[in-house]
């Protein structure tokens, strides 16, 4: 039956059909739904888990592969940076059961801190790479990726992008081919990468590359679509669809689905068969560099933009600059921006509000909902680099401050899931190197930004089983934070929050503040707080608008009065506690 599926659903489905046994990931947009969909197959032969970070996910999948299972690890592009260490060495060891590593890149930066093109990871690590263009190819190619992995004894990088992950296209599904977990045979020369063994494996890796080059020339994943005209286009991934939209069936295409190693002969033959050669790809000139290195003249980067994702009109403007302006309408109006904000009733708001009162606190931020501490009117956050960098970056910032004889106090702000991911190593660094920073773990009991995934603090696994719940306070103490330097606070209680922030500000040793209120969007929380509302007592309100400083989207100033939107308010009372005239009242 024809079904319409996102690329992520189709990748999960294809992996399952391929007889997948083990899957691991850390959630990250746009890759998250791959594992969420694989978890649906828990009673049909697949074990799935959220790993504490991407390095752990890849290592766990590698362990499963060595034991003989077909294994998959998925992550967003920046996750592969975290997992780069095992990734490079796995090129040497190879696999036992098929091993596929999914990198979901984010051209256009829809929800990421950079726009890196992870195709270069394949050539850098010397790992075979497969790139689908739509959901059907996600399903078909991931199956082929497992075959490649086992046949050539290599991990395979399965590279997708946001538009593929989150677009739905038609898919013909198939049945699962059940596979036994392969037998494991101890082989230290293959799986123990001590220098002497690694040196021998490098030789094997070189031989494998030669074999993969042969495969690249013959696989139907790299196909030519012959058109009626004289223009030829080399392309891969989503760019193929945009190129096809603009150039239609007139152009010829060398559509590359197996993109490392690239097929030299196929490219030469294709180039020779057309009069004009274009390379159409987004972000980096990965294919183009290769084509040019072969001494083949082509046009790509000098016309295509370096930044942002490709779209049909960007391709059109690049290659047909004289074509008529696109239709379209416009009106003369100043359109206000609509940036993302902390939700109405968000548990992080009170904490940011209190920290914002100090002008000499530097807030090193992190990746997650609390990144939104940058948004006005809260505007407290100074830095956001990558997962975990709030804490370790905070250590460095503080050391520099001390060296310069300055006085800024560093507050590192990190979520629960991110703390487990890579904040804990920074905390250990702060303790051992005696950096008196304040680590603020905004524990909202869920991985919120990516849409509510379980993490080590929630007490549940991805497949829905109850499990051990890691105690953050005990964990911090085990890292060496003194008990008297730890505060657990309800961030809805501004007085308690104020006291804790003050204590942290004045502390001369590493200090930890842990907030203990769960995300306001967790279903049980929504249900529990359904009848809690705040409203404005108009007689007392002097319209000083201080309540607007909380930056809560439920609190409005319209038509000369302040009012609170009942539909979105959850009665958190942060605005009520800010109001100096006690003009905000709570019910429920």
């Amino acid at each position: 039956m024809r079904k319409i599926m996102t690329g992520n659903e189709a990748t999960a489905r294809g992996a399952w059909e391929a007889g997948l046994h083990f899957a691991a990931a850390y959630p990250g947009t746009p890759s998250t739904e791959i594992l969420e969909n694989l978890a649906l197959y828990k009673d049909k032969g697949v074990y799935s888990e959220w790993a504490t970070n991407e390095k752990v996910a890849v290592e766990a999948a590698a362990g499963a592969s060595i034991a003989g299972a077909r294994a998959l690890a998925a992550m967003k592009h920046v996750g592969l940076n975290v997992a780069a260490d095992p990734f490079f060495t796995l090129a040497y060891t190879g696999v036992n059961g098929g091993l596929v590593i999914v990198s979901a890149d984010d051209p256009g930066l829809f929800s990421s801190q950079n726009e890196q093109d992870n195709r270069f990871y394949a050539s850098h690590a010397k790992i075979a790479m497969v790139e689908p263009s739509d959901s059907q190819e996600c399903l078909d190619y991931v199956k082929e990726a497992f075959e490649i992995s086992e046949k050539y004894d290599t991990p395979v990088l399965f590279r997708v992008t946001t538009r593929i992950c989150h677009s739905k296209t038609l898919v013909e599904t198939g049945d699962r081919v059940e596979r036994e977990v392969r037998p494991y045979k101890k082989d230290v020369t293959k799986y123990v990468m001590a220098p002497a063994n690694a040196k021998r494996r490098k030789q094997i890796l070189t031989e494998r590359i030669a074999a993969l080059k042969e495969y690249s020339e013959t696989t139907p994943l790299n196909r030519v679509e012959r058109g009626s005209g004289t223009v030829g286009i080399i392309t891969s991934g989503i760019s193929y669809n945009h190129a096809k939209e603009v150039f239609g069936d007139e152009a010829s295409y060398l559509k590359l689905g197996f993109t490392w190693p690239l097929p030299e002969k196929k490219i030469r033959d294709f180039a020779a068969s057309v009069e004009t050669l274009y390379v159409i790809e987004e972000n980096e000139p990965y294919l183009e560099n290769y084509v040019k290195a072969l001494g083949i003249a082509c046009t790509g980067r000098e016309k295509l933009p370096w930044i942002d994702e490709l779209t049909p009109e960007r391709v059109r403007r690049a290659f047909f600059p004289d074509s008529e302006e696109s239709g379209g309408y416009s009106i003369d109006a100043e359109i206000p921006p609509r940036p993302p904000v902390l939700c109405a009733g968000c548990t992080h708001r009170g904490f940011f509000y209190e920290v914002g009162k100090y002008k000499d606190i530097v807030v090193t931020g992190d990746i997650g909902c609390y990144t939104l501490g940058i948004v006005p009117p809260l505007s407290v956050t100074d830095t956001v680099i990558c997962m975990g960098a709030s804490v370790s970056g905070g250590v460095g910032f503080r050391k520099a401050v001390e060296r310069a004889g300055r006085k800024e106090k560093v507050f590192a702000v990190i979520g629960d899931s991110t703390f487990f991911h890579s904040g804990i190593t920074g905390l250990i660094d702060a303790i051992v190197n005696k950096a008196p920073i304040v680590v603020n773990i905004l524990d909202n009991r869920i991985t919120a930004m990516t849409g509510h995934q379980e993490n080590p603090g929630t007490g549940r696994t991805l497949m829905g089983e109850p499990t051990h719940q890691v105690d953050l306070k005990a964990l911090c103490m085990a890292c060496g934070v003194k008990e008297e330097n730890i505060r657990l606070i309800d961030p809805y209680d501004l007085t308690a929050t104020r006291d804790a922030v003050r204590a942290g500000y004045e502390a001369t040793e590493p200090f930890v503040i842990i907030t203990t209120s769960p995300c306001a969007l967790i279903k049980e929380v929504v249900r529990r707080r359904a009848n809690m509302k705040c409203f404005v007592d108009e007689e007392k309100c002097v319209k000083c608008k201080l309540c607007l400083k909380a930056g809560c989207p439920a609190v409005n100033f319209r038509d000369g009065r302040v009012y609170i939107d009942r539909a979105s308010c959850n009665g958190c009372t942060v605005c009520m506690q800010i109001c100096p005239k006690h003009a905000i009242v709570r019910e429920g």
Partner: protein
């Protein structure tokens, strides 16, 4: 450059308004009708009050999942400022469906930006085929404002001339049973717009 039979629809709104569910129902219906269908959604941080866009394209063979600027046959705006934000995607002669509904973004709430006045009038003046109605009010009168997305879906189906399909059957499949009655009414109300 090629011309083909691909039709393009752009649905725009604010996180939480149900644009993605409406697009999902639309796509499912189009698949049943035998079209090649591609749908692309952009979310991520948008559930926290940002703008949400979904592209739906159908025809005998669709290439890109993204609607090119100036090529949408219909632009459905779940919020009226969002109509203005995405207007350049609507092709000349295309239909604009606008929910006469305001959602203030935080910069507007805090006074850092202004919600523009007279947007609806300007939209009407710019686009000959403009339909404006308050889907939020219609859905509220039927029992729940959350069904405004299905009211808009009904209006979209009419604008595209896609009434000859068993949409109620698609709704039955994709809407939880206890909300089905409300949504069927909302869909019919949308068809009348």
């Amino acid at each position: 450059m090629k011309k083909n039979d691909t039709k393009s629809i752009l649905l725009v709104g604010v996180g939480g308004q149900g644009t993605i569910l409406a697009s999902k129902i639309l796509s499912e219906g189009l698949v049943r009708k035998g079209y090649d269908v591609k749908m692309s959604e952009i979310h991520g941080m948008s559930q926290r009050g940002g703008s949400v866009t979904t592209h739906v394209r159908y025809g005998s063979k669709v290439a890109s999942p993204v609607v090119p600027e100036g090529e949408a046959d219909v632009l459905v705006a779940f919020e009226k400022v969002e109509a203005a934000r995405w207007l350049q995607y609507l092709k000349k002669g295309g239909t604009l469906v606008v929910n006469d509904f305001e959602i203030y973004s935080l910069p507007v709430l805090t006074g850092a930006a202004k919600y523009p006045e007279g947007v609806t009038e300007k939209l009407r003046a710019a686009v000959p085929n403009t339909k404006v109605f308050n889907a939020g009010e219609i859905a509220s009168s039927l029992g729940n404002i959350k069904a405004q997305n299905i009211v808009l879906l009904g209006a979209l189906v009419k604008a595209m001339g896609l009434e000859d399909l068993d949409w109620e059957d698609v709704l039955k499949e994709l809407i939880p049973e206890k909300l089905l009655d409300l949504n069927l009414k909302a869909f019919r109300a949308g068809l009348e717009q």
